[in-house]
């Protein structure tokens, strides 16, 4: 079963180049009978930040693990920097930097020692090693913490150390598996800024996975939406949002629940889609937010109904996700916290 992502603007991929940094062709990963990745195809251009967006258990980490040679590919092909991840795994490893989902730096070692060990694992010569360590520490703003034991760092600083560790051998392609999961909002924004700076200063190609809409929206040049092991949509954030019918979202909650609300909302001018959510909340996609809102308030007043809440916003990636998968990403994410998917490799 091959998953062809719906490219929302076919033939209009500005970053497409003859030799992309990453090429994934019909890649499949199976654990016994369970198919975690179902024939995925995409390409990442040189210097691009490419995001895999999806809920926990969608197959994002499995995809990134196949591309970083951590798990074998069941079928299909992945080329990273022109090298096959199966046949040329060592060549691939030399040119990539990987930031895993968990914080894995050694807590008993200092910041600098962590970087030294990894530079040695990549056989970086001593002179170059010292220069690289100084540069990456500067880039992630950890220079004054170089002698500190890792266990004394905050979560955000540790994540920055992981990023520095992944860069210590000057990789061409950078893989980040949920780089801001578990960070507070301030640290998250700091990491985003840092990644943007790194992209500019080092001309890195980045592939990151995330389940944060805002992160994908702010960081990525292009986003692939992953659901149940398939790519369901692919494009720039703007293209993806434009692909959803309606440019605004009106979220309304009535004081009284009624089965007729949905049909009444659908009749309002400009409305393209109405989605019923929990606790009597309706999400209304509309091409004209202000007009729909006015009509909605008038309708409620005319019926003597009161509105408990009303919110108008532009189309978000959440709406894109709902449009392409029929579910909300945040619901899936919350559900996944309580229903952990089987660990890869576990039988």
């Amino acid at each position: 079963m091959t998953s062809h992502a719906r490219t929302v603007t076919p033939g209009a991929d500005p970053l497409h180049q003859p030799s992309p940094a990453i090429q994934v062709k019909n890649i499949v990963k199976k654990y016994g009978d369970f198919e975690a990745v179902k024939g995925v195809n995409f390409e990442v251009a040189d210097g691009e930040i490419f995001g895999l967006l999806g809920p926990n258990g969608a197959g994002k980490s499995t995809l990134i693990r196949m591309m970083t040679t951590l798990i074998p590919v069941t079928s299909g092909k992945a080329l990273v920097g022109g090298h096959d991840v199966t046949k040329g795994s060592n060549e691939v490893r030399r040119m990539i930097g990987v930031i895993p989902q968990a914080l894995t730096s050694d807590q008993d070692l200092t910041v600098e020692e962590n970087l030294i060990i990894y530079a040695k694992l990549y056989s970086v010569p001593k002179v170059e090693r010292e220069k690289n360590i100084n540069e990456v520490l500067e880039a992630v703003d950890l220079t004054k913490w170089r002698g500190a034991q890792t266990k004394t760092l905050s979560g955000g600083m540790r994540r920055r150390l992981e990023i520095a560790r992944g860069l210590v051998h000057n990789p061409r392609i950078f893989f980040l598996d949920e780089p801001t999961t578990g960070l507070d909002p301030v640290s998250r924004i700091a990491v985003w800024e840092m990644l943007n700076n790194l992209k500019k200063t080092r001309n890195l190609t980045m592939l990151l996975t995330t389940h944060y809409m805002e992160e994908a929206d702010r960081l990525c040049d292009r986003i692939a939406i992953v659901d149940h092991g398939k790519l369901v949509a692919l494009g720039t954030p703007v293209e993806l949002k434009q692909s959803v019918p309606g440019s605004n979202v009106v979220e309304v909650q009535f004081s009284r629940e009624d089965e007729d609300w949905k049909s009444r909302l659908q009749k309002l001018p400009g409305v393209t889609e109405v989605e019923s959510q929990s606790a009597g909340v309706y999400r209304v996609l509309t091409s004209n937010g202000s007009q729909t809102t006015t009509q909605l308030v008038e309708m409620a007043n005319g019926m003597g109904e009161q509105l408990r809440s009303l919110m108008v916003q532009n189309t978000t990636l959440d709406d894109v996700f709902v449009h392409y998968t029929g579910r909300q990403l945040r619901d899936e994410t919350v559900k996944a916290v309580f229903q952990m998917p089987p660990r890869p490799g576990a039988h």
Binding site: I71, V98, T104, D108, L121
Partner: protein, 370 residues
Amino acid sequence: MNRFLAIVEREMRKFFRSPVLMIMSMMLPIVQLVILGHAYGGHIQGARVAVVDHDGGPQAVKVREAFDSVAANIATFTTFNYDNETQAKEDVRTGKVDAAVIIPAQYSRRVYAKDAPRLGLVVDNSDQLMSGSIESEMQLLVNALNGPVIEDRVVKNIALNIVELYPYVEYMKYLLAGSIALAMYISVMIGGGMLYIDDKARGVHEGYLVTPISKLELVMGLNVAGAIKAVLAGISISVIGSLMAGLGVIFRPGADLNLFFLILGTALAFNGMMFLMMVRVDDPLVPRAMFGVLNTLLFFPSGAISPVAAFPKWLRAIAIVDPFTYAIHGFKAIMLKDGGFVAIRGDLIFLFAFGIGTLLVATPLFKRTL
């Protein structure tokens, strides 16, 4: 080479930065050495023996004088006079006294009449060590009473001349070999097995696997680091234990060299065994659960506490393939008997072969991917 050394460097930096592992690996063997060494090393002293004298004659007095002599000298037991035999037996049963000697009525008359005189001994045989010691002491005492007043000019009994090759070995010294091996085993289990699986579970290995390090470099790095930690634990406990037990072997350079080779072989064997067992394990609970089972299964049948010859056949079979057996045999040969290289050659061959063999089996089983 650089990558393999990077793994060793990382492990050693962690090891020296956190002395908990070193302390933990030495704590149990030292406590065991001190407690068991002193608990089982000495003779029974101060056992309480009830004496019920139904006779009261001159020969009974002679027996009681002999008891007083034991109490005043070797002090294996002290005696308490009882009037009531039933009460004395009851007190043995309830543990108030450890044994009761019954001198029956007419005992003196029977001695003079050479009419098979008898003394009764009631012991609490639920405690084999105590009852055995009292029985043995009583037997010596009775033998002495049986001795003729005037010795024959020619001794008719066959005599056994015992030649002890080595000075008296206190139990603490006997235990030291086991303590060294145990410290190395704990170091390998905690510093190798548990930390290895914990690192795996925390994703540290995932970090290694995305670098160009080869499978062989990674296996070698982990095992060399584990072996170095075990060697350090072995050397430390050899020095500390020898000083505590009063063994001067560590001050002889020749013996030290043999000891070092034996520690190295033991570290390699233990590390190889551990790596083979943990190579496909992902759950951090597994090495913790295995720790106690393996300790009992391998340490006790090895001859560390009591000789292998005293074990049943199936337990001896375990001892044959148990690296503890050879490590302990070798340590005893060097530390207690001052045996040279010849004395430990067989042990070294087994330990190195076992270590290399287990690593050769474990390496192909090691997965370079998650």
